[in-house]
Amino acid sequence: MTETFRPIPEGDYFKNPGYLKLDLMLNGVRVDPSLFQKSLILKEYRLSPSLCGNLDLILPEETHVSVPYQEEFTIHSPYKLRGLHGKYTLSGREHSAVVKIVPHPSFYDERVNSAVRIGDVAQCHGGYVSLALGGHRYLQSHLNGSSGALSTAPATGRLVLSVDEVIGLLDRIRKETAIDVITLSAWSAKGEDGGILQIEPYIRAIKASFNVLLLVEVHLPNVRSMIDQTYAMGADSVCYHLGNLCSHGDQPPAPGRSTEQELHLLRHAVSIFPPGSILSHITMGSRPFAEVIEDIGLLTGIKVLPILTVEGLEVVRQKGLTTAQLAPLFGYVYNAAKRAKITMNWFSRLAPFVAPIEGRFFSGDSPKLKLALLNFYQSRFLGGSISAGLSNLRRKLRVREVKK
């Protein structure tokens, strides 16, 4: 694992945006109180702290990060955010860097209907919009920094929005900010479909109304035809909640299904979706790193891109995990994906996660051509439309519906 890993002393994190991102996610940031009085942006953040506990920053090299700043543990953070003459400076113990703040959307307090505020069901991180149709609690636990910007949470909510309301909501968001990627999560995983049929009407409506990439977060279904349907209905990428593949021992990852069966289903998904668009969370924190590495190897071996997540920041604190301990795992994901020739262009500029392509910061790699292409595809005016357009064209070419 260490052969292509580039360790960096704690004091040099400012020289490496990847380390800085990871460290900020784990430790949070202290915000200079004067900013709340002077800065309009931060006032907006203060308006709805319960809705969005994180502060989105853009670090050097266009590295987006969602940083906890309200939680109690942040008072011990080595990082402090200051503002002077419209510029924001992030300072550490010895170094500092100029950063940008992603403006906090003004619509979080607006209502979708009489019962639901936009902030309860949607979160925006730049062009990345996460919708949780299961509602407030799921969204909070899924993306809110208080329970871990790197964490996943079980989908336990229930439907709170109709299809028309979701389309109206996205229209409202689009008035204020461009949307590149929409993430849609199933709120329940009952049945053999892994939850995809619940969100099918939403997927179809969103794809019919907006030219965006759509990432769905569901459980792995029991049958291959459901994977085919997921692609056909409009999902551009899927992130499967697999939990732990290797650590279960005699315990299968899903009732009635072995690891081999899971890998078989994933292989099928990889053959259906575009290269690099099948993702899976791999949890870390409470289990040995060796198991995590084994999972990464298994997934990259079948060309599934692993997304490393921790089981809540509380676990990180309890275990005393540090950036220096976690960084090699992210580097390992990048190297394994590179060895397996998995495309890492999809969803690569995500503030709440360390994207696999960002693992390059930990391995010391600098793929200039890849990054140039990535920057093009993520450019707001042309690239985003091209990415979504190509994905739609690909689907149109490959999907056929035949009568039974």
Binding site: D228, Q229, A232, L397, V399, R400, E401
Partner: protein, 492 residues
């Protein structure tokens, strides 16, 4: 989503892209090539209209062969492109949809719709198999004859469509699995070949003969009677049935000893049909009357008029509804016929046919001379012309629609007939008969395609005996032209 399922093409995306879009790019290429061709100066000796008609002819020929767009749409394109290129006025071009042949085939389709709708088709098929089949060989013969006979009364593809479930039932009664038994394969091919052979006998067996008649009428103002056509074709069809029987029984091993199971299955099916309904009786009566009038009063009363009168009577007695007609009639073929007749007329009026005839006039003479010099065979050049044209038609019909062969070849053949001072009606036989004898490939004719779709036939089961049938059919046709036609007074 409930009544359909999703299929994802998992081939590499470049392969998928090419396979899904090549038609568009080919059409684009064809469009550019066509534009470049018609923009160029005309060939020597050919009028500008004639030169543009060459472009329209090849455009339609390529589209009919490749089927990049449906046959019917190519027919519509033919009607539109002729006035667009200035070959003839639009009013005239569109008037060819009013040709007698178009309405005759429409009437014939409506009649066959009534036969199918009332279930008379199945009853007639079972009638031929009534009385118990005694041996496997006899069953093959009965299937051949019954499908051939019914194809004399209605389009061969319709006969194949209602015969297929009956043959499937027979195969199941013999406990055959798909690809399972040699005898099972024989039954499917007997059905398909019977349809093909019967389909050439009358004007009702398919679209080729009525289209040939339409083009002939439009270009020469001459006609062929229903009975006259049959006199020429029966002599070819009857020995063809015998040949088909011999090829089937010798090529395929008969691996069953008894057909008792089939008899039981047919009896059960017959019982299921119940008593003959009034609708079936009316349709049979009207059909027999129509055939009588076509045979003995067709030239005087007009084939199309008789067909339409029969249809009016059908509706008078409410035997079929308009909805049934909409469902069963192949409207695309009717559109194609209008376009094909228009194209043929455009080739004629622009002087193209005469130009082609002049260009190819000497080849049959040269071949006839060589045959005489080298082999001592003395045949007239006109006979060589017939042999060559029938061979070309037989070859083309394996690759493209039977009717499309008539559409592209008959106008040229009629032009050659004028140059040789032959009776142009002979050319309708020379082109339309071999155009119907497509045994070789599943794509050649709907009857073989349906038999192949059963899953019981492998491609080699069709190819090898089909090739044998094609060669024998052509040889028989050549013999019929040589010995039977002069006997009927068809001089050349």
């Amino acid at each position: 989503m409930t009544d359909s399922r999703v299929i994802i093409d998992r081939r590499p995306i470049t392969v998928v892209f090419i396979s899904r879009t090549y038609r568009f790019f080919l059409l684009l290429l064809l469009g550019f090539a066509f534009y470049a061709f018609v923009s160029a100066p005309p060939w020597a000796g050919l009028s500008p209209e004639g030169y543009k008609a060459v472009g329209a002819f090849f455009l339609c020929l390529i589209l009919w062969v490749t089927q990049l767009i449906p046959l019917a749409i190519t027919g519509l394109l033919a009607v539109a492109i002729v006035p667009l290129l200035g070959i003839m006025p639009a009013k005239q071009a569109f008037s060819y949809f009013g040709n007698d042949a178009v309405f005759f085939i429409l009437g014939a389709f409506i009649l066959s719709a009534a036969i199918l709708k009332t279930g008379l088709s199945t009853r007639l098929a079972l009638l031929f198999l009534k009385g118990g089949v005694r041996s496997p060989r006899q069953l093959i013969w009965r299937i051949l004859v019954s499908s051939a006979f019914l194809s004399c009364l209605m389009p061969e593809h319709a006969v194949a469509a209602f015969f297929l479930p009956i043959i499937l039932e027979m195969a199941r009664a013999l406990e055959y699995e798909p690809f399972g038994g040699s005898y099972g394969r024989t039954l499917f091919l007997a059905m398909a070949w019977g349809c093909i052979i019967g389909g050439v006998v009358t004007f009702l067996g398919g679209g080729r003969a009525p289209l040939a008649l339409g083009i002939l009428k439009e270009l020469t103002d001459q006609d062929i009677g229903f009975l006259d056509w049959m006199k020429t074709t029966v002599v070819l069809a009857v020995p063809m049935l015998g040949v088909a029987f011999v090829v089937l029984t010798f090529y395929f091993r008969i691996d069953v000893e008894s057909v008792e199971g089939i008899n039981r299955a047919l009896e059960a099916r017959r019982k299921k049909l119940g008593m003959t309904s009034w609708g079936e009786k009316w349709v049979l009566l009207i059909l027999l009357l129509a055939v009588y009038f076509w045979m003995f009063h067709g030239l005087k009363a007009g084939l199309a008029n008789i067909a339409i009168a029969a249809v009016v009577i059908l509706f008078t007695f409410k035997v079929v509804s308009w909805k049934d007609v909409e469902e069963y009639v192949n409207w695309g073929i009717i559109l194609m016929y209008g376009g094909a007749i228009c194209l043929g007329r455009a080739m004629d009026s622009s002087g193209l046919i005469e130009w082609i005839a002049q260009k190819f006039l000497h080849y049959p003479e040269i071949i006839a001379t060589h045959l005489g010099n080298w082999f001592g065979i003395g045949v007239p050049a006109t006979y060589v012309l017939f042999v060559l044209l029938s061979l070309v038609a037989l070859f083309l019909t394996e690759m493209m629609s039977n009717s499309a062969v008539v559409a592209v070849l008959l106008p040229v053949a009629i032009g050659l007939a004028h140059s040789y001072q032959l009776d142009p009606r002979l050319m309708a036989y020379v082109v339309a008969l071999p155009a119907g004898l497509a045994f070789l490939l599943p794509i050649s004719t709907p009857a073989v395609a349906l038999a192949y779709s059963s899953g019981y036939l492998r491609i080699k089961d069709i190819l090898i005996p089909g090739l044998m049938m094609n060669i024998i059919a052509w040889l028989l046709l050549v013999l019929v032209m040589k010995f039977w036609w002069p006997y009927l007074g068809m001089r050349y």
